[in-house]
């Protein structure tokens, strides 16, 4: 039989193409150098040691963590006696609450963020209006719809229930007996008037107690670090060139999703590093939540953190001004900030819906469809371009995201209310 010459060329082409496809099929675990670098970047072992918090001199004091844990779970520190930090940051639910909006004394206009791993973040809340864990912890305490309390109320509670814990760490409490039961720079008009009626010295003394509460809570929260997930075990095996083990850890579908995640789907633009977040702010065109006031995100948060009485440069911070780099070089204004929000960590993402800053999306399918179609932002400019992924590819990415489930890397004593 004679073979036509042009057919020979075609056959050769088909043969080589087949060989290449076969290689890429069987070699799904053969990552390029760039991809390996991306995997290493996302790996939990790339997480650096817990960064120091120069603004909190008690951050690494175990006694402060123990005291902070007590405060974290104590519902007496609220206007109705029923709300603690742990009300929304539930230890059994990865220190978040699984509902679109947080419910304290009232209802907030934002989704509760997890606390796990936040010691690594320079910014707190969805809009970064706080720049330390301790300053963050103090926000909800005097928010009328969260704890709903005030500074003298908390100082009296410390004096009554935690005198020894407090004084052993922070020194003697000032005499509080002549101070009003309720006073603070809060929405409640009576408490606000009482606060105005206090001397500047008394206000500062009470504020120091309040700040120390925050620093103790932060010392506790710092201990909540994400642990190893199936994804991390896969990366470890791949980096050891142990593909036999690697391919038993993740399925081909999950690996395909991972490849998309670090490649075509551009997820690592924002969800990079071992915590799967760059801790920056982005407008991704997330739709406005119905029935909530307009939310401009970072545009307001940047102004708030700059003016915040508890920021890194404040008198209540233990940091030297040159240690406040994030604040000194802050992007404080500009159209770009409008409706930017912080990308949350994706560790354990599959078990903690709903998603986005007001819980706009119930499922990961909805989230991925949003990124796939990239609708225009309700305010400001969305950074997204449509991904144009197939349904199969979306399924693969979601399968990969589920490999990020893992435990909290902390001693058991920190993962429940104290004895």
């Amino acid at each position: 039989m004679k073979i036509k010459p042009y057919l020979a060329g075609l056959l050769l082409l088909m043969g080589i193409t087949l060989l290449i496809s076969a290689c890429s099929f069987f070699g799904q675990t053969q990552w390029s150098e760039d991809e390996l670098a991306s995997l290493r970047n996302l790996w939990i072992d790339s997480l650096p040691p817990l960064p120091v918090d120069p603004s909190n001199q008690y951050a690494d004091d175990p006694r402060a963590a123990t005291f902070g844990q007590k405060l974290f779970f104590d519902t007496r520190f609220s206007s109705n006696g029923r709300v603690a930090c742990a009300t929304c940051h539930l230890p059994g639910q990865l220190f978040q609450d699984g509902t679109p909006l947080a419910h304290g004394v009232g209802t907030t206009s934002r989704r509760t963020m997890t606390i796990i791993g936040t010691a690594y973040s320079p910014w707190f809340f969805w809009d970064g209006r706080k720049d330390s864990q301790w300053a963050q912890a103090l926000g909800p305490m005097e928010n009328p719809v969260e704890h709903g309390g005030n500074r003298t109320m908390y100082a009296h509670l410390i004096s009554k229930y935690y005198l020894e814990d407090y004084e052993s760490l922070f020194g003697p409490l000032p005499d509080l007996s002549r101070l009003p039961p309720d006073a603070g720079p809060v929405a409640d008009t009576q408490a606000a008037a009482n606060w105005e009626g206090m001397s500047p010295e008394d206000r500062e003394a009470v504020t120091f107690i309040y700040v120390n509460m925050g620093k103790a809570i932060a010392a506790y929260e710092r201990l909540l670090i994400p642990g190893e997930s199936r994804f991390d075990r896969y990366v470890e095996a791949v980096l050891n060139s142990d593909y036999e083990s690697a391919n038993k850890i993740l399925t081909p579908e999950e690996i395909a999703g991972l490849k998309l995640f670090i490649g075509e789907a551009s997820c690592t633009n924002c969800h990079n590093g071992p915590l799967f977040t760059n801790n920056d702010f982005h407008n991704t065109g997330v739709p406005a939540a119905p029935d909530l006031p307009e939310d401009v995100g970072r545009a307001k948060g940047a102004q708030q953190v700059l003016a915040d009485e508890f920021n890194c440069l404040s008198t209540y911070s233990d940091a030297q001004p040159q240690q406040c780099g994030e604040l000194r070089f802050l992007v404080a204004d500009g159209h770009e900030l409008e409706r930017q929000f912080k990308p949350p960590s994706l560790r354990n993402v599959a078990t903690r819906g709903p998603y986005m800053h007001a819980g706009q999306f119930a499922t990961l399918e909805e989230v991925l469809n949003h990124y796939n179609t990239a609708p225009e932002a309700p305010v400001g400019h969305s950074e997204l371009e449509p991904l144009k992924l197939s349904e199969k590819q979306i399924t693969q990415i979601i399968a990969f995201l589920k490999t990020l489930n893992g435990p909290i890397h902390a001693e058991a004593q920190w993962l429940a209310a104290p004895e």
């Binding site: 060329g9 193409t17 070089f329 802050l330 992007v331 400019h381």
Partner: protein, 158 residues
Amino acid sequence: MKQPTPKSKLNRTLLWIGGILGGLVLLLAIVFGVMVARMSDVPSDLDYSATRLSDDGFYRVSYIASPGKIPINQMHQWTLHVETADGQPVEDATITVDGDMPQHGHGLPTRPQVTENLGNGDYLVEGLKFQMGGWWVMDFVITANGQSDSVHFNMLLK
């Protein structure tokens, strides 16, 4: 049956070679096409050097990042060295700093500044941070002795 003439043998050989070559060219075109699509938007002719001449040729500017490899998501600093085109250090320049990702429609996550004149044409740039990998451009406007000129550095961060 007709015997193949020497001429038709030669033709057949040429056709074989042509067919095989054609197949290879097509394959290369496909592979190249995929590679171009993968590298998508980043222009292929970018100059990534850390020493560049300013737009109008007034200054030769170089940077050294600390740490050496530019990190992602980490505040760090650069030392910028400014000299004239003929190699004299520019001692008392005023320098403004900006930067962006040309393909992403966003700028820097921080507002870096020159915070110290280190002498000998060296300037400390603090507050630098890049929040993702990809193509970044840093822009410096240098003003000295009444002459302003801009210099741009391309970086492909991984």
